[in-house]
């Protein structure tokens, strides 16, 4: 007998499978040849910072360590009204930078706290280079990151290039789980890159073509996810966003489950609100795969996550309730219950359909993880097995909880902040 739960399960299976099959088909296509930009054009690096005491100097050091010609770089550090020593640390280190290297410009200034988008726009008013990069003050690019990112601007229609993010020195379970997430996200982004459907230019060292960004209207508050909203506007204006697979940037990630929840809630809330704002792009053939596939899939993934979470809770509750009731009748004497129990199972009791679905999904997931590690140029460490298991079986449930919080806040109209 097929009930509504089974119908819902089948819908979830179908959409999830369709998504993965579509990915595989995209991967089977030839990678588009993109023209490389030669030489080293001038670039302005904008570093907005809010309460980044202790982080800002390592970030500036990583900028110093980049192998891009220093005389082609202008650095703008904007302190967005920090309440700690961010401004002081940035100012002192900038003097050292100017003394040691021949940067075109190193500018440090402070402003009243207005948010990251305002800090970016304030710096944008000052720059006159063809390209600029945004760099979060808690991120550290690898030596050759900027060089590789700039190579991707060969096509004049490319408005932005996204780097590959890596978790900076993962030291606990939460950060190691995020390491796996970033690894697989990179693979996912390289797939959607083939579809010309990258929907976000992340804060840690995304590079933009200045004229296009100014043409589409610079940064906006955009529900605290200015990097995503600008990417949407760039896509809407029919420019290109490219994912540069060789350009690695290390970023500091949340250390506790609470801070991780807050970060993901802000990202997902912003994503959801931006999707609503740009809903006319959804299912619109004018925007190609970006409108037909990518935007609806982002929206659907949140919804599917919640449905899967609901189905799992339902299945878990259904399987555990009779045993709990039985245990209650045994006055919670587990030993007595075990003593009276007997195992009576035959192979026909196995739900073959569920088992096959699990095996298919699990095999595809492992295949994607393997491909992600190859693309990420990363070796799998046995020590990370436990976080990997947690990532595989529980992390997406955590994300579903985040989405649940997002929908709740959207419905009751809670305001979301971006501060740490």
């Amino acid at each position: 007998m097929i009930g509504w739960i089974e119908i819902l399960q089948d819908i979830v299976y179908f959409f999830s499978l369709y998504y993965v099959v579509f990915w595989v088909l995209v991967l089977l296509d030839d990678e588009p040849n993109s023209k490389k930009l030669k030489g080293h054009p001038e670039v302005s690096i904008i570093i907005p910072a809010y309460n980044e005491e202790g982080n800002i100097v390592p970030t500036l050091k990583s900028v110093e360590a980049m192998d891009y010609p220093k005389n082609k770089l202008s650095i703008y550090i904007i302190d967005d009204g920090s309440t700690d020593n961010t401004y002081k640390e940035a100012l002192e280190y900038s003097k050292l930078m100017l003394k040691n290297d021949n940067y075109k410009r190193v500018v440090v200034f402070t402003q009243k706290n207005q948010g990251k988008y305002a800090a970016m726009n304030a710096a944008l008013k000052m720059i006159n280079t063809e390209f600029f990069a945004s760099l979060d003050a808690d991120s550290m690019p690898s030596k050759d990151a900027l060089k590789k990112l700039m190579e991707c601007f060969g096509n004049k229609k490319v408005a932005g290039v996204s780097p590959v993010l890596k978790v900076y020195k993962p030291s606990n379970m939460i950060q190691t789980i995020q390491f796996f997430e970033y690894t697989i996200n990179h693979f996912y982004k390289s797939v959607i890159n083939r579809l010309d459907s990258v929907h976000v230019l992340p804060g840690p060292l995304s590079v933009y073509r200045t004229a296009i960004v100014k043409k589409v209207g610079c940064f906006r508050e955009a529900h605290k996810t200015e990097d995503m909203e600008l990417a949407m506007r760039i896509q809407k204006a029919q420019y290109k966003i490219v994912q540069c697979n060789g350009a690695f940037v290390f970023t500091k990630t949340p250390y506790t489950i609470k801070s991780l929840y807050r970060q993901r809630h802000r990202w997902n809330y912003g994503t959801f609100r931006n999707l609503i704002d740009y809903r006319k792009m959804m299912f619109n053939r004018k925007y190609g795969d970006f409108g037909i596939f990518q935007l609806p899939m982002i929206m659907l993934s949140g919804l599917l996550g919640i449905i899967v979470l609901g189905l799992m809770i339902h299945a878990f509750w259904k399987s555990i309730t009779p045993n709990l009731k039985l245990l209650q009748l045994y006055n919670y004497n587990i030993l007595a219950l075990i003593r009276d129990s007997s195992i009576n199972m035959i192979w026909l009791d196995i739900d073959l359909r569920a088992l096959i679905t699990f095996v298919i999904v699990f095999s595809l997931t492992l295949m994607i993880v393997w491909m992600s590690f190859r693309l990420y140029k990363q070796k799998y460490g046995l020590k990370t097995t436990l976080p990997f298991i947690f990532y595989l079986f529980f992390y997406y449930l955590f994300l579903a909880v985040v989405w649940l919080g997002v929908f709740k806040d959207y419905i009751i109209g809670t305001k979301v902040g971006w501060r740490k």
């Binding site: 007998m1 097929i2 089948d10 299976y13 179908f14 499978l17 369709y18 099959v21 579509f22 088909l25 995209v26 296509d29 010309d196 029919q238 053939r285 004018k286 925007y287 190609g288 795969d289 970006f290 037909i292 596939f293 009779p322 009731k325 039985l326 009748l329 045994y330 219950l337 009276d340 129990s341 009576n344 035959i346 026909l348 009791d349 739900d351 073959l352 359909r353 096959i356 679905t357 298919i360």
Partner: protein
Amino acid sequence: MRIFQKRRYLFAFIITAAIFFIGFFFGFLMDLQRVNYFTDMNNVETLNIKSLELQQQLLKDNAFDNQCNAFRFMFDKAIVELENNRDRLENYNLQSKVKQADFDLLMREYTISQINFLSIAKNLKTSCANSSDFVTVLYFYSDQATCPMCENQATVLDYYKMHLKQNILIFAINEKMDKTEPLIALLKNVYNVTKYPTLVVENDVYSGYIDKDALNKILCGQYKSNDTRSLICG
């Protein structure tokens, strides 16, 4: 206008649908295997019943002297198999997507087998009174929508089955079976079953949910031997 490959979307749909079809095919094969398994099991049950009935007749005719314990052993073995298979059949019936009619038919056959066993059990109590310190419970239940307390009642019965083992024989009857099996309608009439859950302990009818303590009192009064009474009467 940007690139949009309709063909890729269509291909992905066809492949996904094909994988889904394979999944359904496996489901069908699974249902088929389960139906075959129960058809075989049903033949065994029918033979068991015939054998037990014959043995019982011979016991009655005093052809088998002092063989009650041996008979009881065979009866217990057969009834454990019957109960396990009934549970299993009910679960498979719920999971079934394609062979629903076959499962319904099998359910009917199993219900008849249960009534047969009930009849043998009742006769056993007279023909082998000394080795028959067990209680028969006929449990009429319905689905969650019409009987929210049936799940709890089933758990209480599971508890006593686990605890008392062969000293309690529970025959669970789904009220829906009365539409396909006239015998069930007859039993419902005999015991005047109008609401669910209803328990018939030996010949006493208890309508509505009976909790663990209340059932304990009812069952305690039914046992004769001290060994069995010590298991339940404290």
